[in-house]
Symmetry: C2
Subunit: 337 residues, 2 copies
Amino acid sequence: MVAKVFVSAQEVADRAGVSRSAVSRTFTPGASVSPETRARVMEAADALGYHVNHLARGLMRNESGIICLIASDVATPYRSALLRELTLQLQQGGKVAMLINTDRSDGSVDRALRQAIRYRADASIILSGLPDKSIAQLCLRSGQRLVLINRDDDQPGPLRINLDDHEAAGRVATAFVRAGCRRLAFANSEAGTPSLMAREEGFVAAATALGLAVTVERFGWTGYEAGKVLAQRLLTRRERPDAVFCATDLLACGFMDAARQQFSLTIPDQLCIAGFDDIEQASWSSYNLTTFSQPIREIASRAVEWLGAPIPEDHSPRRDSLRLKADLVWRGSIRGG
Amino acid sequence: MVAKVFVSAQEVADRAGVSRSAVSRTFTPGASVSPETRARVMEAADALGYHVNHLARGLMRNESGIICLIASDVATPYRSALLRELTLQLQQGGKVAMLINTDRSDGSVDRALRQAIRYRADASIILSGLPDKSIAQLCLRSGQRLVLINRDDDQPGPLRINLDDHEAAGRVATAFVRAGCRRLAFANSEAGTPSLMAREEGFVAAATALGLAVTVERFGWTGYEAGKVLAQRLLTRRERPDAVFCATDLLACGFMDAARQQFSLTIPDQLCIAGFDDIEQASWSSYNLTTFSQPIREIASRAVEWLGAPIPEDHSPRRDSLRLKADLVWRGSIRGG
DNA sequence: TTGTAGGCGTTATCAG
DNA sequence: CTGATAACGCCTACAA
């Protein structure tokens, strides 16, 4: 007993005294089998421990049931929450998720996509980075669907799901001003992804419209530690900001900790803070952060729904670009909520 | 253009003017192909966008390259960190991870395992729950390897990776006593998993040996909110504890927040706290939590390494149970670190 | 080194 | 409703 021996449909057929086809039909939803045959097959299958080989089925049907999830920083609160929701809904839709980690290096996403092709994934959902045009085209040409979440790319074919980052950021500016803040700042990472930049630009634009300047600082990667450094930089300025919009909740957490512990500032009395993502920690009472909630549920359901829908024959005018709304979650880090 | 049309080896062969076998060999490491042929094949493959079909390859080789990761609560800091490491190391080993979410309902793990069988996964790594004996046996019989992480189960066959929860918990008791604490408490969830219970028992046993009693409280699931409730319960006791070991960092975070904000206690002066897992938030300066680090890297590498090793022919005396050490990470939540 | 033939487990097709 | 047969795309002898 060394080799891998899964039981095949033939063995089930032999035991049940029917043909392979009968077995196949028994496990194909909506096929015509007599209740009697089905019962005998099921009994034999159970006894033998038979399970349909999805590798072979995928080969025949040209549909593997595999969906590739391509992402970096999968252990991050926001990412992991999104992945959780995606895998969950994919499962409920009868699909199975293949998770591929990318890093921020060049070609990382392309390699992942190639892996997706090798396993004949029905679709790939990209949460980080951006694939090269040629490889993306290859996916599309091969009949693989593509979903891009929060990545701005305008080549046709993939479904693009984005948030209204720009507008959302504008609403924060208004909230700050209403709270009596005048010295606005934006804390960003150096990642420079479209959604991050859209938040920055939206915030600056809205503030400008309100007649206020914004101090912008960018540092490192989008994490807790970077938030601390950003606080260091922004709070030591001569004109110390009285309101800071952090591009990300993780940045905000680091920023708040530094502001309180190194600068002895009280929030929101001396300093108002807002974040983005509504990660779980934002609701922890140490932070109690006012932030924007990513509509994770909806992002996932829209993606899964789109994947399940039939491919339009004639490049129909279906909207393949979704713009979802991020709701402001009022907590205690801005005065007068 | 509706159907899914991936390019096949035959097409590459036609274009390169060679046989299918030549193409196959070109993509099989260690096969004998002349550099000339290989070059022509590669050129054709690149031009056509050919990628080996791993579904078909798996069918032939009886080895899909797929490893199933079975877990619940995948968005939790500890879980997501472990998943990250596993997927990463699996990728580096040329495998690909299939992620299956389970919930805490009965049969959830069994369903996941059946999915693993359907996709002919080479192995399944279980991070949550416990499979039914019969389905686990079926996996093993089918040649699928099984790895259980932090789940106590004694049926032979799977690789079991556990921590020295019991001993580790004992070390915390000593640390508390050394810090001058006398009124010890243990905050646990009601999940009752073996590792959680081992921590509880280890802590109580060590405290008893030191001549101290332990107040044990259990509530809810292993999360932040439960930690707050546990604080509520433990800190309102007449004999208020001066040291609390929380079964999990997440519990500890909730506990600390409640202790500080609702009971105005300072840590570690009035209350010492310890946790377990060393999640990222434990190092955030709001918590600065003394805790045990899960050797995530090693857990993953041991699992992957074991999966890569050949199956012993004769039920050889290979150790299929690993007991890894959790190191105490000293931070500021216990006096006198 | 190369090509040919057969088979992996499944489903789709088509008689019966 | 059932059973035989031909694919699906690939790999592994085997012979050239």
